[in-house]
Each structure stands twice: as C-alpha cells, then as structure tokens.
Symmetry: C2
Subunit: 211 residues, 2 copies
DNA sequence: GACGATTGACCGACCAGTCAGTTATTCTGG
DNA sequence: CCAGAATAACTGACTGGTCGGTCAATCGTC
C-alpha cells in the first residue's frame, strides 16, 4: 500500500521542520539561513521555499509543530499518573529530560518568545501554547485541591505560577556557567519548589522541618 | 568648571546606548541596524562604530548598563522599606511600572536571554544579572524568615523561585492578546502569588491593604 | 513524455564595517 | 588675543559579503 502523495509531502515538510529545529537550537532564529536548514535536511536550498511560502512561514509552522508535540507529551505524562503530586513530578521529568535536549529546546523557545513578543502571528502561536499549558496545569491543580493536597487558592492563578516557575528557572539555568553540572540541581529545585508552592510549607512525604 | 573629555565621551556613549535600548525594544536585537541606532540618537551611522568596537560590543555594553541600572533601582526600592512583605511589594511595583515600559524592557530582556543562551560574553553578563538579583532576593527572604513571616525552607532556592515567578509571568504576559488590559491582572497576580509562595497558604494578616 | 520534485545559479536588497574627507575644538607660539 | 596648526569628533559614500527569494533547467517516476 503506497503512502498517499499528501502523506509523503507531509513527511518531507516534517523532515525540514526537524532540521530547522536542530539548527535553530544551535544558532538562533535570526542567524539561521534557509541554506542552513536545507543543508541539515540534506536537500538543496530551493526546496525549503518549495514546501514553505517563506522563511517566516516555515518558522511559524515549526513553532506550531513544537507546541503541539509538547502539549501531547505533557498530556501523556500527566494521564499516566493518578496522584496530582506524581503528575507534577512527571511534568518536571518531562520538561527536564537531559541537559542537551533541554538546552536545545529552551534556546529555540526563547527565540520564539522574542518573536512572539513582537510579531502578531507568532504571538498567537505563543498564546495557544500557554493556553494549552494552562489547561493541563489547571486540571492538575484542581484535582490536588479536591483531594486537599494542594493549598492554593485559585487554580487558574496557580497554573500560571506553576508554568512561570518552569520557565523562569529555565532562564536561570541557561545562564549558569556549567549547565551540565547544575542541571540536576535545577531539576530537583524545580520539583521541590513547585511542590512547596502547591502543598504549602510542609513537604508532603517526610515530616522533618517545621517553621 | 568644564566637564572632562572622559565625561563627555561617556555621555555620548550613554546617549547611544539609550537610543539602542529604545530601538532594540521595538525591533529586536537581530533586526536592529547600526543605522537605526544612529538615526534614533540623531547622529550619523559612522559614529556608532567610532564609540564602540562593533555591533556586538555595543550590545554587550547596552546589557551591562541595563542590568546595573536595574540592580540599582531594585536595591533602592528594597532599602526604602522595612517589612519584608513590603519589600516584595516594592519589587513588584518596580518590575511592573507600566505596560509600555514593561513591554519595552522585557522585549529587550528576552532578546538578551536568547543571546546569553548562546554566546559566552553575553552569558557572563546574564550570570551577573542573576547573581545580583539572587543577592537582593535572598536578603529579603532571609529577613522574612528571621521574622517568621516567610515559611520557605532555603533562602537561596526561594530567591531563585521568586525571580522565576517574575520572569515566567512576564513571558506569559507578553503573549497576551491585550497586554494593556491584562497588565494589572498580571501585576496583582505576581504580588499575590509571590506572597502566597513566601508566606504560605494563609494570606498574611492584612496591613491595611486591599487585595 | 508528462509532470511533479529538485537543483543551484542568480538577483536584488540589506547591512556591518571602512575610510577619505569635513567640521569643530583645542592647542601653541607670536 | 589671534592665526593657524594639530587633533578630535563626525559624516556618509562605498565595499565586500550575506541571504531571502526566483526561476530555468534537470531529474525521476509513472
């Protein structure tokens, strides 16, 4: 059974997007050229503008694809756990996969934020990303609140803060002198601080310190 | 008393940096040209490379100047209050001055993070920025802990989280469809969530303030 | 041989950085 | 105090190179 022409075309597009992602992570949106992307994908330069209307169109689709796959993986990670605390832990593990993947993703992510802060079509994509995150995060928070494990007031605001802690810690990590060495520090801190924020001053499991 | 030549030169440099800041906030680091900066400063293009070694040198100095003035203003805001809770409020007020200033600053800030994530000299500047923030934030947290108002465990980690909430919320705000309208929402949320994080689930006994 | 996929030479716009030349300021000796 | 020399500040045309986008030619497949 032959794959349809449409499917093949979609695969070619995807291959270009993946190549673009890798090269954007390295060099940054603004210094990536169509030649770079084509070279990484192993095709000639002309082909990139055969499959995409323009460089901007390519990047818009790149970020659209990225956020869809991120959303999907977050939903997946969350659905496979029952306990809200475990769901948070699963999110942390997903978002901090490894130093190299992390750096690649967040470099591209920051570039994207810079674009979203200035160009309307990118802003819309960014909005979609945060909306998706907020829905996932809020569901976790609401569940935690129902079970009495989370002591936050407002699930929407808590979801927003949750995501802010992820992003903000990542920004800090990216400026660390030795990202490899401090990676686990940040991952652990992220988990600890998120749970501190959600469950209140007392750690959920261990009894130990009390103010 | 005539100003020294060195002072005059420094003023010229500063005028160029200020012009560069405004134009970077609008267009982003990578699409700003030396012509743009010169035009904004009301001088000819050649002058920018007369006062700076290169475009990159100019931007490095721009970000250095920015973080110094931010640090100074944060220290100032913090020192003028006694109560740790009030210090946090002062920081929030400082960081959220107005929608337009906010957007200008954080657009430039994001660009800077993108640069810092990839180019060593910029990474160092970013590290200096976060180190300064951490020192200020940690001092506040330690004071709050001594007074028993803050229920966090570790002052360094709490300072890191504090800053993450600032930055992370700002990223979200920048993708809002109507930044003007949601500005106060985010400022209030930032204050509320920071204090929730620091003082625990119970809102602090009111100090004559309205939420 | 028809047609979509692919190539890469090419074009024009853009831009960092250079530099020869111009103007403003300071210095010097008469 | 001044002429004019020396120096500093400044200008903008120019250069060399880059890159997004185009397109005529070629390839591969049915």
């Amino acid at each position: 059974m032959a794959r349809s022409a449409a499917t093949q075309e979609a695969e070619k597009r995807l291959a270009l997007l993946k190549a673009a992602f890798r090269v954007v992570a390295e060099k940054g949106f603004s210094s990536v050229t169509l030649d770079d992307i084509a070279a990484r994908a192993g095709v000639s330069k002309g082909i990139t503008l055969y499959y995409f209307d323009s460089k901007e169109d390519l990047f818009r689709q790149l970020f659209g694809w990225l956020i869809d796959s991120i959303h999907a993986r977050m939903k997946d990670a969350v659905e496979s756990r029952q306990d809200p605390v475990e769901k948070v832990r699963a999110l942390v593990a997903l978002i901090f996969p490894s130093p190299s993947k992390n750096r690649a993703f967040f470099r591209a992510y920051i570039d994207f934020c810079g674009l979203a802060a200035r160009k309307e079509p990118f802003r819309e994509v960014g909005e979609r990303f945060y909306r998706g995150c907020r829905d996932i995060d809020r569901a976790i928070v609401e569940e935690g609140m129902r079970q009495g494990a989370f002591v936050v007031r407002d699930p929407v605001e808590a979801a927003s803060t949750l995501r802010a802690i992820f992003d903000g810690l990542m920004l800090q990590w990216l400026t660390e002198p030795e990202p490899e060495a401090s990676f686990e520090t940040y991952r652990d801190r992220c988990e600890r601080e998120l749970l501190h924020y959600l469950t209140g001053p007392m750690p959920p499991r261990e009894k130990g310190r009390k103010p």
